[in-house]
């Protein structure tokens, strides 16, 4: 490294950080202006708080033997389960005496883990393949596009119902499978289209002339430019993943010990679902939680959409 003489240059990372902060500020303002995005973010924050609060409550206020979301039960209410909301159980207990609120909070963590993992995988795959297809075109493109067509031919939930017999679907594997499947599907086509608009930009040409390798160009030029769109799709994918997990759990098709879907399934299989208002605390909280989390991520996605797609902005 040569020492700078005279004027001191700012280190590159600082410039980058400043640029990033500046664009972040601008985008945040746009996101905020969308009004629906912040609502979604707010709901997500509430869920994050619930997730964080659970282990703390278990360690302090809640007796594990009573409040454990899977094994706990309240012996003082013996014979009264499912018990309606009370001071000890703000959302009541389930048919085998477990605390609904504890289950609800505990499951939040797995929903996030599942949703975010699966969406991340989807987006990473989709972005990479989209960029590669756009850059190379030809046979590579044709192959991946056919795969995408093929994946999109399958009804997603129906496909997972079959896969569940092939692969033992616990939370992690489900996230993986969902992520990979949707990664090779429609998202690739969308991101490729975006990458194609980037590819024809002059700076790509310039980079090629300057002798940049394909890998370098894809990594440094194409991917960063389709990242915002990828990020946007990630939000929608979280919604999809959470919803899918809930449906499969609701049908009792997943080997997960507890989740919001399983909570409703438990109520349904024990025969409390059809009593509706009489046992509302068994289905309403998990049902609302699933809906709200899906709703929230979708809102954030729509909010981001206005940031990423100028055409949707208010004029």
């Amino acid at each position: 490294m040569t020492t700078q003489v005279g004027t001191r240059f700012e280190p590159l990372w600082k410039i980058r950080l400043r640029l990033f902060l500046k664009s972040f500020q601008k985008n945040w303002a746009l996101f905020w202006e969308s009004r629906i995005g912040p609502i979604g973010l707010g709901i997500i924050l509430v869920f994050v708080l619930m997730m964080i609060a659970h282990p703390i409550l278990m360690a302090t206020v809640w007796e594990p033997r009573v409040y454990d979301p899977i094994m706990g039960f309240d012996p003082t209410l013996l014979g009264k389960h499912p018990a309606p909301p009370s001071r000890a159980h703000p959302l009541g207990t389930d048919p085998i005496g477990r605390d609904i609120l504890s289950q609800l909070m505990w499951s939040t963590r797995s929903e996030f883990a599942l949703g975010v993992t699966s969406a991340l995988i989807t987006v990473v795959i989709g972005t990479l393949i989209g960029a590669i297809c756009a850059y190379f075109g030809g046979v590579v493109d044709a192959i991946f596009m056919r795969i995408a067509d093929l994946v999109m031919l399958f009804p997603f939930i129906a496909l997972l119902m079959v896969l569940r017999s092939v692969v033992h679907l616990d939370l992690l594997r489900l996230a993986l499978v969902m992520g990979i499947l949707s990664g090779f599907g429609g998202i690739t086509i969308t991101l490729k289209a975006q990458a194609l608009t980037v590819k024809v930009k002059p700076y790509i040409e310039a980079a090629k002339v300057a002798g940049g390798s394909a890998f370098h160009i894809i990594r440094r030029h194409i991917i960063p430019n389709i990242m915002p769109l990828s990020f946007l799709y990630m939000m929608f994918n979280v919604t999809g993943a959470v919803f899918t997990e809930a449906v499969l759990s609701y049908f009792g098709l997943l080997d997960i010990r507890m989740s919001w879907g399983i909570m409703i399934h438990t109520a349904a299989s024990a025969g409390y679902l059809g009593a509706f208002s009489q046992y509302w605390w068994l289905w309403a909280p998990p049902g609302a939680a699933i809906t709200l989390l899906c709703f929230a991520f979708y809102l954030v996605g729509r909010g981001l959409d206005t940031v990423v797609n100028p055409r949707l902005r208010k004029r």
Binding site: I96, G97, H168, F251
Partner: protein, 629 residues
């Protein structure tokens, strides 16, 4: 418009007759008797369609007394003729098919001849599959007509209860005139069994109390009363001492069995109907809809083989007119050890785990009485076969005592720990196995569970249905896991799909599991032949039923003798001894089952009795049931 009115009028007339609505949860899959007993043997098919046919003999609920139905009196004893064993059965006279022709020996002989026909290197009975092979055991050589009302059964060796009383004699009989041409046509095809199964019968003559009328796939099925039913007005009297009496004033038929009226006061007096003009079976695809329909009075009851879940019971309890009854189940859910593997091959290990399992705690505290703890491979609800004096490991002990006992048993057998489990404060309120003493002293958790030869115990997998399939078993498995972990026994519950378990337990190249948890439904309560299939060493082959790999020569001998027994009295002590052996050796730990709870509208339907093993769904084929509205 006029047509529409006419239709409404017809519906009105129908409504005026006696109609019962009984809900089903699954659709029929066939109307063909061969398929219905064969590959399509579902409880739903049987429930709706089975009542059309009759068999020579049957076990009659609620006492499961074995009595003649199409036959006249009990069969003759077997006699040896030219190295073969022969018995004759007399057919009751006066029984007619719905087309007016009488039931004769020809029909019986035809039915068995279909099953005995060789097709593609095997008997038709095997090719048809399902329950047919049980009705046509290997040792049955021929069924011949002696005269119009007498049939001769020829066996290669003297048959036991399984092959005769509870085998061939229970076979449903079909009409020769109707089926003969169809059977001959099927024989001409490449796949005779497949062709026979594919026949869609139209206006098939039957002889049961209810005749199948209409099936609207996915919506409902209807049966109508058979006006020519031979049994109408027939009185079946069951006595407390086990005696039975059949009398049919119309056909001038009387039969007394097992001591008849001499065996004490009348237990049940059942007068055959059918009392209902037609029964409509609407199909509900979920229980909630059926429960709602029951509450609204749209149906009088619904058929529910597993019984009502607690929620439905809670909801229906409050509905006026609805009566809920509980009957003991005829089945059990159990834990099975793979005795081919270490350490499950050690009896002490199995006994220790059996000792640790506190069924009462799970049943009474966790599940609040919705499950019944069970201890024997023959449920105690079947007092004739159940042996009440078997060993039950750990019964009545507290948790701490169970732990102490299990540790003792394991240590005695040579198992050891790096750090042995300790019970803290035994007998006090603060007793615990591991954890923290009230004074803050931490008792170290046990660790390093070792086999008698000093090696560490391998990680063991407990396969159990996931909460999605059966929350009861899933939770129970988690408790077992927890109890074992407290003792550093490395068992991990793998809650997974039913199919996954089945495919691992019955893996193509042998039994690929450590411990699994499933359940059985047990077939005919009058004859628990499953004892043979589940634990006889001949079943310890890939795809066999002896999943634990239980091999006990004494048990094998008993089981074989049991199948060959000529009477239930002879079989009973054998079953008792078999239960003792199984309880002692614990290839299975029988855990629990749920009582069969059923709901019906007492203001719409009247049952002749409601106490019956397995539930009122066994008050069947509903010819003694009355409609009240």
């Amino acid at each position: 418009m006029r047509k529409a009115l006419a239709v409404v009028a017809v519906v009105g007339v129908l409504a005026a007759g006696q109609v019962l609505h009984i809900g089903l949860f699954e659709d029929l899959t066939t109307t063909n008797i061969w398929a219905q007993i064969g590959p399509d043997a579902t409880v739903w098919n049987t429930y709706v369609l089975g009542g059309q046919y009759g068999s020579l003999y049957g076990s009659v609920p609620p006492t499961w007394t074995w009595l003649p139905s199409l036959a006249d009196g009990f069969p003759s004893d077997f006699v040896e003729e030219d190295g073969k064993w022969v018995a004759t059965v007399k057919i009751r006279q006066g029984i007619t098919w719905t087309d007016g022709t009488p039931l004769t020996a020809d029909d019986v002989v035809f039915t068995f001849n279909v099953l005995l026909t060789q097709v593609g290197g095997m008997r038709m009975a095997l090719a048809l599959g399902g329950n047919w092979p049980a009705y046509c055991p290997d040792t049955l050589l021929a069924v011949e007509k002696v005269d119009d009302y007498t049939v001769k059964f020829v066996y290669a060796e003297e048959p036991g209860l399984g092959e005769w009383t509870f085998g061939a004699l229970g076979c449903p009989i079909v009409q020769k005139a109707y089926w003969e041409p169809k059977f001959q046509a099927a024989l001409q095809t490449e796949d005779p069994a497949g062709s026979l199964l594919a026949v869609v019968p139209v206006d098939e003559p039957i002889l049961g109390g209810y005749d199948f009328a209409r099936w609207e796939p996915g919506a409902f099925a209807v049966v109508e009363r058979n006006p020519t039913y031979y049994g109408t007005g027939e009185i079946l009297t069951l006595y407390e001492g086990g005696g039975a009496e059949i009398s049919n004033p119309r056909l001038n038929y009387r039969f007394e069995a097992y001591g008849g009226a001499k065996t004490g006061p009348v237990l049940h007096k059942l007068v055959e109907g059918p009392y209902v003009d037609s029964i409509i079976y609407p199909i509900y695809l979920n229980q909630d809809a059926a429960v709602l329909a029951l509450q609204k009075g749209e149906i009088a009851m619904f058929l529910n083989p597993l019984g009502l879940a607690k929620g439905f019971e809670d909801r229906l309890k409050a509905t006026p007119g609805v009566q809920i009854i509980a009957n003991p189940p005829w089945g059990f859910r159990y834990l099975a050890f793979n005795m081919r593997r270490e350490p499950m091959n050690y009896k002490a290990f199995r006994v220790a785990i059996a000792t640790l399992i506190d069924r009462e705690y799970v049943a009474n505290s966790v599940f609040q009485g919705i499950i019944t703890p069970m201890y024997s491979v023959v449920p105690e609800s079947n007092p004739f076969w159940h042996n009440p004096d078997i060993v039950v490991y750990g019964k009545g002990l507290t948790h701490a005592e169970r732990v102490a006992e299990a540790v003792r048993i394991l240590k005695e057998a040579g198992f050891s720990w790096d750090a042995e489990p300790k019970v803290i404060n035994p007998g006090t309120r603060n007793e615990a196995v591991i954890g923290v003493l009230p004074d803050g002293q931490v008792v170290p958790a046990p660790k390093g569970f070792k086999l008698p030869d000093g090696r560490y115990c391998p990680e063991l997998e407990l396969l159990a249905p996931s909460a999605g399939y059966d929350p009861l078993r899933a939770t129970f498995a988690l408790y077992i896991e927890q109890w074992c972990r407290e003792l550093a026994i490395p068992i991990k519950a793998n809650l997974t799909g039913f199919n996954v378990i089945v495919n691992k337990v019955w893996a193509p190249d042998g039994f690929d599991f450590d411990i699994y948890m499933l359940g059985w439904s047990l077939g005919n309560p009058a004859f628990p032949d499953y004892l043979y299939y589940f634990w006889h060493s001949s079943q310890d082959v890939p795809d066999g039923f002896n999943t634990p790999g239980y091999r006990n020569p004494e048990f094998d001998r008993l089981a074989e003798a049991f199948l060959k027994a000529k009477s239930v009295e002879e079989a009973r002590p054998l079953v008792f001894r078999m239960q003792e052996l199984l309880a002692e050796d614990v290839p299975y730990v029988v855990l629990f089952d749920t009582p069969i709870k059923e709901a019906f509208r007492a203001d719409m339907i009247e049952f002749p009795y409601t106490e019956v093993l397995g539930g009122i769904q066994f008050v069947w084929p509903l010819t003694t049931v009355k409609a009240l509205k």
